[in-house]
Subunit: 446 residues, 2 copies
């Protein structure tokens, strides 16, 4: 497997930028200096800018971008998806959860090959970058294919190793359980600088309880976190309570120490006040997947209650089979709109809060490096949004513009880890045509 | 004012089209024949196609489009907006309705000039066409500026003449009431083939009751329809009931005969069972404005109940100050998603039903000509959607693709009334740069 290695210092200077700052305001006419994979400065000081030019202008890897007054904002962070499920886009829509999952999705997933999964993930990552996402949290199998796709795409990702593995070497798909392989994969890939590796705790309903204990042990031993599905449906909570003397999954997971490590808990569609208290007490990061929850009929996540309780709320798209796209601007749009109507109060959830959920809150959940803001010392993960479109004119209010008017297709340029991965809507190192060709070739049979 | 006149027969042949048919299925490899402003045929019959070539190939206004297997679907129909409010995009977001309307919006609207309004409407129409809308229902003032913008843009529109007029000739903005002018405008513009003119009945709260009676009389006398706001907020219903012995606005409007003519009732966010029965009984067309209702905290319209009752449900964006865009794909997305989550039932509201709401149901509400479907004899209003984007790959299910994956930016070409108004994302007769320049020049002060 090819691991991309930097051969020289990379530097980028972005001039004439409207910069979206940490405090949710904008500064116009700024110059952003990027060295290696970090933001060195955001400045108008010509001495600093000239010194940067002098240091870097002779390097081949020195890029100068004229933002032309357009918006430079932190890349979006998608905190829960199953990237290869792009291949299952739009299959089984508008069916019951049972018909969708067991009748349409799983029978097709069983026929996927590791190569299919690589291309499915590459397609997902292209879609995410195109619509402004620079970092995402993935959960799928086989792990090696996901990491290969992340390494090839240039994205930043949080990926989790699962204890369940398919034996892909034989035609027959036999699932086996082992943590030895998960740990081996963790050790092998955890050093790679754009990857942060967690352990997967799929859910209390899919994993046997002895496994849940084992995953907590592993996360503690290897000083990393856990990515889990939590309280997505009422059924999952009821079933667990029936088997566990009325204990709720969140209460059980607290008891076994699952929240003592860094956790990304996806969904949290149904939470009691005590559940929320537990999540807050242990700084659990909640990944809200609003489109998916709506589309599958799971419910409406208690976003306002989570915010009021001070929980770190982030946004995810979930997989493409239950969304059916990976465009974070749609999640932003929904988060900003839905609760105002639901509770008939237009002051609920400010646009700036939603921008934070989709950027710095998400980065806080997924990354072990400073990320998610355009600030000195932060990782250089950012997007340049072309503000020339008619639907972005006039701007009037930048936070409202991002939440209510902006579309994924407005993203012009994407920088991740100090590298320009998409420039004027063209990928710099991905062969888009090849990926599209491979994805279209895949025929999914039940 | 320039009224565009056709000087020769216009013909368009679209080959290699994936056609979205009236019955919500697709036919691939089709040829669509357009003559003047109507669809002559959708066929694979080479004799018919050759005859069409023979008849038209020598004409200068004969266009041949190779759709390259991409989707040709009916243009979207936006059944409620206030087009010039693009100028107020993103102003006063996340405030209470009172602060927003009286503190931010109206004080700025008072300073708009007729020229501002023309450019605001042109910007709106550009945004609508870019995102696939071919026909819309407008409510604003002055009427002459809206119609001029529609004539210049090439869109199909339903515009209503109001009894309230500003005296734009003086610096002072003095509103006066007269129906003579409305009737004069109706007579002058009703002959124009892309315009359908209704009378405006803004709402029961803004218009005095004697006026409501007068509007019904006018609509009956001139054999046209009424465009109104109806039951947008609970306050509007409660206030009316308090003044009218507990009678609800819908009951009152039925009593005065407002529903005996064709009606587009915007919002209908709060409806009793009896309200819905009245709307159904009189074939009232309901324009749901989901984003606006959510954003302003007005509530969630009872879409499932309206559908179950057989009411003609259509979709609108409302004005840009309460949305804050005019992208009908976002309304489609919301309509398909929201109720599944709200009622925890993923089978509620099928994707194909939502496509109908956004196309043929809307056309039925607004137009006095056959429209809203790709069918023989229909007006040639259609869009070509580029399916090559990664977020539309693989297709798998066309209705789900349109509802859950498609974005406004996927629209490549727009044909309205048999004329190509946007070709490969470029407007054919609008000077986009000039409109943008004029819109950006407008400074809105309170």
């Amino acid at each position: 497997m090819l691991i991309y290695e930097r051969v020289s210092v990379i530097a980028i200077l972005i001039k004439n930028a409207m910069v979206y700052r940490e405090n949710n305001t904008i500064s116009c006419g700024m110059t952003i200096l990027i060295e290696e994979n970090k933001i060195l400065d955001i400045t108008t000081n010509t001495d600093i800018i000239n010194r940067f030019y002098d240091t870097h202008r002779l390097e081949t890897d020195f890029d100068v971008i004229d933002a032309g007054g357009n918006l430079v904002m932190p890349g979006l962070v998608n905190t829960h998806t199953h990237s290869p499920m792009t291949l299952l886009r739009n299959i089984g829509s508008d069916l019951t959860l049972q018909e969708w999952l067991f009748g349409e999705i799983i029978p097709r997933e069983c026929n996927l090959t590791p190569e299919n999964i690589y291309y499915g993930s590459m397609a997902a990552q292209m879609e995410m970058m195109r619509s402004g996402t620079t970092c995402f949290c993935d959960m799928y199998e086989p792990f090696e294919m996901l990491t290969k796709a992340v390494i090839d795409s240039g994205m930043r990702a949080n990926i989790c190793t699962a204890g369940l593995h398919n034996d892909w070497s034989t035609g027959e798909k036999r699932t086996y359980e082992t943590f030895d392989k998960s740990i081996e994969l963790f050790k092998k890939y955890n050093k790679y600088n754009r990857l942060n590796i967690f352990f997967e705790m799929h859910s209390v309903y899919l994993y046997r309880q002895e496994w849940l204990y084992r995953i907590v042990e592993c996360a503690k031993e290897y000083k990393t976190g856990i990515h889990m599905h939590l309280h997505e449906t009422i059924k999952e909570i009821d079933d667990f309570m029936a088997l566990n003397k009325g204990m709720r999954p969140t209460e059980f997971l607290e008891e076994i120490g699952a929240f003592d490590v860094k956790t990304v808990a996806a969904h949290c569609t149904h939470l009691s006040d005590n559940d929320i208290e537990i999540l807050k007490k242990h700084d659990v990061n909640v990944a809200i997947n609003m489109t998916s929850n709506l589309k599958l009929g799971s419910g409406i996540p208690p976003l306002t209650r989570l915010i009021d309780s001070g929980v770190n709320v982030t946004l995810g798209t979930d997989g493409c089979a239950s969304n059916n796209n990976l465009n974070m601007f749609e999640e932003i749009h929904l988060a900003a709109l839905l609760y105002k109507g639901l509770y008939q109060d237009p002051t609920l959830i400010k646009a700036s809060q939603v921008v934070d959920m989709a950027t710095k809150n998400g980065a806080h959940a997924l990354c072990d490096v400073p990320c998610g803001t355009i600030a000195k010392g932060s990782m250089a993960d950012m997007i340049i949004v072309d503000l020339s479109a008619i639907h972005l004119t006039p701007v009037n209010d930048i936070n409202a513009l991002i939440c209510y008017s902006m579309q994924g297709s407005d993203v012009d340029t994407v920088i991740i880890d100090g590298k320009i991965v998409m420039k004027q809507k063209k990928f710099t190192s991905i062969d888009e045509e090849k990926i599209m060709h491979e994805v279209k070739k895949i025929k999914l049979h039940k």
